[in-house]
């Protein structure tokens, strides 16, 4: 069982950058929206009905599915801080966390399989949101995992399905396959070369959409973009996945080209930018989350370009997660004001970077061999 009091590394399997292109593509997520026949959609259902749904899903998952042996959390039973931690880990949605409203509703919960590769959100916008979250660019694998879980649960639970429209969902934009596949990608090269606008425009023109780090409506920070499919209707799941995969590969190629151009035309400027970001993260005493994200962007670029030897993508991923407000409060064991949060954030960052040792093996003079 997960220790709900601390949550430790719960649900953070994807931080280990084992997937392809993990230095550029942080994570791949595929989710399927499903609803149960004979129940009102979550947004309209009453307490008792919602709790009945959670119980049915939990039971089906525990009996015969890849979630068996995993964890089931009823969000109402969790302290607010734990819910915020789950939210910051992208394991539950803002809606499910009950943020901004009156807390989580009855029957809302999250199930996570052993190994944390697949899970289900229950009674969010839809009765079930099956999802898979993996490191790197692994769309096919993520889809297969979630598809398999879908089959397992579908064998036990009567999904709402229309022979013409496909799976029925609370919001019409999800009707059909109910599939949304998204990848979180780091594009500093395209931002620095100012080509990002063109690329994002291209993405929109081929039926994809992009968002900031925290999904819909969130701002882009640290040059991280979420790219996902926009339409769910009239295309097979495989086609949607293949299409996204193809486009993302192209974006990765553009990003690589942009980085090559930067390193060809202005290597010193880029190196300086990267090392300054590292120096500030390593020694600052107060850091806002936004500043951390922006500095991490430079450092991640440096690691990807092999300019910061000895620093791992895993550490960068960890910093992204553990410097968020709720994570810092959990570590401190108490509520933190914004100013305190900035101090704790900086302390966390310099501790983790110091523990990686000095990354600057190279101290030669420029042009004198050591650096060339």
């Amino acid at each position: 069982m997960v220790d709900v009091a601390t949550l430790a590394d719960f649900g953070l399997g994807w931080l280990e950058p084992s997937g392809p292109y993990a230095d550029i593509v942080l994570s791949t997520r595929v989710r399927l929206a499903r609803n149960l026949q004979g129940h009102a959609f979550s947004t309209r259902s009453r307490e008792g009905e919602r709790e009945e749904i959670f119980e049915r899903v939990r039971k089906a998952a525990a009996e015969r599915s890849s979630l068996r042996g995993g964890v089931a959390l009823a969000l109402k039973a969790l302290p607010r801080l734990s819910r915020k931690v789950l939210l910051e880990r992208h394991l539950i949605s803002r809606e499910l966390a009950g943020e901004g409203g009156e807390g989580p509703t009855h029957g809302s919960g999250v199930l996570l399989g052993p190994g944390e590769l697949v899970g289900v959100l229950v009674n969010e916008e839809d009765h079930l949101r099956l999802q898979s979250l993996l490191s790197g660019l692994r769309l096919q694998e993520a889809y297969q995992l979630v598809d398999h879980l879908d089959e397992e649960l579908g064998n036990q639970l009567p999904y709402a399905y229309h022979h013409e429209f496909g799976y029925l969902t609370s919001c019409p934009t999800n009707v059909g396959s109910g599939l949304r596949a998204s990848i979180l990608i780091h594009l500093p090269g395209l931002v620095l070369t100012k080509e990002i606008g063109k690329v994002l425009q291209g993405i929109s023109q081929v039926g994809l959409t992009f968002r900031g780090l925290y999904g819909e409506g969130s701002e882009v920070v640290g040059n991280f973009f979420q790219v996902s499919n926009q339409t769910t209707l009239g295309k097979s799941e495989e086609d949607l996945i293949d299409h996204l995969q193809k486009i993302v590969r192209q974006v990765i190629q553009y990003e690589s080209q942009a980085r090559n151009v930067l390193m060809r035309d202005a290597p010193r400027v880029i190196e300086d930018k990267i090392w300054r970001a590292y120096g500030l993260l390593r020694y600052a005493r107060t850091l806002s989350f936004e500043e951390v994200m922006n500095l991490l962007s430079g450092v991640r670029l440096g690691v990807s370009l092999k300019l910061l030897p000895g620093l791992s993508v895993y550490t960068l991923n960890k910093i992204m997660i553990f410097t968020q407000a709720a994570h810092l409060e959990q570590a401190a064991g108490r509520a933190l004001s914004e100013a305190e949060s900035d101090l704790h954030r900086a302390a966390y960052v310099r501790r983790i970077l110091a523990s990686e040792g000095d990354v600057s093996a190279d101290l030669g003079a420029p042009g004198d061999g050591a650096e060339e």
Copy 2:
């Protein structure tokens, strides 16, 4: 003999911060302007006469003075880079270095005693400029050294002297005692608390003047100020020195108070500023001299406040001198463009800081004991 090709640490004895208040007062300089009877002032004298003067001074110094066993450099014989290095070390003036003009004139030179505490510039604005340059606040000592040298040389050389005006000088502002005493002082506290304007105004009102790092007309960088007496006429040397000493002690007190206020009211902001400056110096790949000076200002404040354990004022002093353009060119063994200079500067700084080891022993979380 000094190795003129590299100059090594020639004339840098004052970098060792052994004097009182050396963390705030970088150096004390006292100089006396003297001219020889029977010769036109340097600005009007011809080649042969100027060379004759240099020869007379050199001979007197070598025979019976505290300069005996030291070094005599005829500037015309030095390569331009070496002259610029001497200039950057504040050992010779811009005028004597021949910068901006057609190179150094005949007979211009510098004599430096063994131990480098006293020296003489020959054929600058005046025939002789006797000077002493010491670490920290040591006005009395510096004056005694230069006064002693003055007596030694005056016994052998006929100074131009008027019974009413005192020592005659090329520029009327130096007539009388011919004395200018100045201290180079670091005032980040007063700058940060915005009280510096008031303090500088006060200085002007008591017959003192302030300048930037490189003397007259130079801008203030890195919160370093040169404070010196403005008048030389109608006051005894001792009075001038005592007055300056009194005022400088007062300024040091104001600066200390300002630092106390900052550390009382905004310790986190100050610590953050200091550590960020250190982080950038430690890792930047390209640095302008002005940026180095500004970052050094923060780091020096940190060392003075004992927030950066393990980093020495000596290292900071060295960085100030050795990151100047001519010093970098000398170390590189070739001319450097401005962009190259910025790269070499950054390489020098991070090498010297790395050699001091990691200064951040403290990695505790804020508010959890380790930092309080």
